[in-house]
Amino acid sequence: MSATSNLRHNILVLSGKGGVGKSTVAVQVALSLRSLGHRVGLLDLDLCGPSVPRMLGLEAHQVVQTEGGGGWQPVYPYADQSLAVMSIGFLLKDREAAVIWRGPKKHAMINQFLGDVAWGNLDFLVVDTPPGTSDEHISVVEKLRGASTHALLVTTPQAVAVSDVRREVNFCRKMGVPVLGVVENMSGFVCPHCSECSRLFSSGGGTALCELYGLSLLGQLPVDPALGRCLDSGKDYMSEFNDSINSKVLMKIAESVVEQCSVA
């Protein structure tokens, strides 16, 4: 399948700000889409800080060539191959090795990820990106031009995050990528002892951003230490904690993504 396959919806998970939970949201949305019965690809474009293999417990996996020279085979964590994953993390011999690359090398790698990987027939390709609006973002948008590509923006509630994500909204507008909506992550913390909610990272940022740009607030995810623990150890949070607020919100986000992509 070529990089610009029109049958596949590409979902770019973006944020101007680092550390707001792009990888977390990308992984959980990909898993949610899979649980809704779709065939999903997950591409980790954070070449300097690839988190996806760790979050899915796939660190020991390596990438292999498909038979007949069809390109690289993605890693399939499930036997039914309903989730296909690719990351530079799979290509590094030493998972702790630093990737200290300038732009042109990153551009070449991204072209390979989108053009030389045998993704197969996918309904959705979720793309986790690094923070900012740099080489990786320009390269992926250029490579996917002509295909159904949408953006999912992630922010935290604080003003510092929102001021960066505003730039990301304008990046999407400039590059012609429609925005599905905004996910506000780390939106409050409920103390496990007294159940009172505290605003760890201020409040209101996601709502303000949506009002300013006429976007949909797709969900607010409170801080749950269990989510961080699952991601650190590669466990499936939504299976183990399927009653949690986060699991329910993530499922609603996935449903909204499906609905908006099928209408577009």
Binding site: G16, K17, G18, G19, V20, S23, C48, G49, S51, R54, M55, R95, E96, A97, A98, V99, I100, R102, G103, P104, K106, H107, P130, P131, G132, T133, S134, D135, H137, I138, T156, Q158, A159, V160, S163, D164, R166, R167, E168, N170, F171, K174, M175, F189, C191, P192, H193, C194, E196, S198, R199, L200, F201, S202, P225, G228, R229, L231, D232, S233
Partner: protein, 319 residues
């Protein structure tokens, strides 16, 4: 021929060179010597091996920023762990510890510049008579950021080459003037910006900020490796958002995992300089442009930042 050109000829064997010496000044001689070195390299029989000496010669030379005594980078590898927050509060803490010192703060995060908001900076950036940009000053800290030069809503949609050019301007085209300490808030990652800064100016030390979780440590390790590769000494590690204390009941929760920074420290032979808890006031004061070290100087957090400041300065003075 004058004495300089005779000296250079003496180093080349088997090569006849006609030299026209136009000017007798140091820059011309240096450039000329570099060209002769290159010719010598080409003349040598290829061995297939580039020596360390040749490799070092081909890297950009580190040129200090005029008037700046010490440069410290605050980096992490991972985004969102609090680099900018630490950079801002560290600069203010050093300024409180040493009121006579001149302190500067460079926001090297081209894509997501946070310093203007956190330091409550606004206004036009002017050029001095040498056409250098004058840093904006607030709370006694001299600051420069891409955020001061661009519209706050406009994204910087640049590839690496343009970013390198922007960084060069922020380093060399700013009237940093006489500074005792310049703190550089680095962007996340280990790419163009980090390389451009580390390879072009002498950096006296780096402080690595991380949160406790393994995902952040993975990236922090890469940042340590990167600084080691470019020969920048790492002063130590700051663990941020280590523990949250509920204001209502006082329960401590390790929201982002268990003390991973200490594991990183033991694996890399570094020290955890300070362990900063997650306090909502930190975010809220930064959002308002009145960082906690300034607005709550008697708080536990401000005390910790001053402790970080003392450790960093002691390290620099020992160098």
């Amino acid at each position: 021929m004058n004495s300089i050109s005779r000296k250079i000829l003496g180093k080349i064997s088997g090569l006849r060179i006609d030299i026209l010496v136009l000017r007798k000044n140091k820059i011309c001689v240096t450039n000329f010597k570099r060209r002769i070195s290159l010719i010598q390299c080409y003349m040598q029989k290829p061995t297939g091996i580039i020596t360390d000496e040749q490799r070092k010669r081909s890297l950009p030379k580190k040129l200090p920023i005029a008037g700046v005594d010490h440069v410290v980078c605050i980096a992490s590898g991972k985004g969102g762990v609090g680099k900018s927050t630490v950079a801002v509060n560290l600069a203010l803490a050093v300024s409180q510890n040493e009121p006579e010192a001149r302190v500067g703060l460079l926001d090297a995060d081209i894509y997501g510049p946070s310093i203007p908001l956190m330091m409550n900076l606004s206004g036009q950036v002017y050029l001095n008579d040498k056409k250098l940009m004058i840093p904006l000053e607030n709370y006694g800290i001299h600051c420069m950021s891409m955020g001061l030069l661009t519209d706050s809503n406009s994204p910087i949609v640049w590839r690496g080459l343009m970013v390198m050019s922007a960084i060069e301007r922020l380093l060399r085209h700013v009237a940093w003037g006489p500074l005792d300490y310049l703190f550089i808030d680095m962007p996340p990652g280990t790419g163009d910006v980090q390389l451009s800064i580390s390879q072009n100016i002498p950096v006296n030390g780096a402080v690595i900020v991380t949160t406790p979780q393994d995902i952040a440590l993975l990236d922090a390790r890469k940042a340590v490796e990167m600084f080691t590769k470019v020969s920048v000494p790492v002063i130590g590690i700051v663990q941020n958002m280590g523990v949250f204390v509920c204001h209502h009941c006082g329960t401590e929760t390790r929201v982002f995992g268990n003390d991973g920074a200490y594991r990183l420290a033991s694996d890399t032979g570094l020290n955890v300089i300070v362990d900063l808890p997650l306090v909502p006031d930190i975010v809220e004061t930064c959002d308002r442009g009145t960082p906690i070290t300034l607005s709550q100087p008697d708080s536990e957090i401000a005390t910790k930042y001053r402790q970080l400041g003392r450790t960093v300065i002691e390290y620099l003075k020992k160098q």
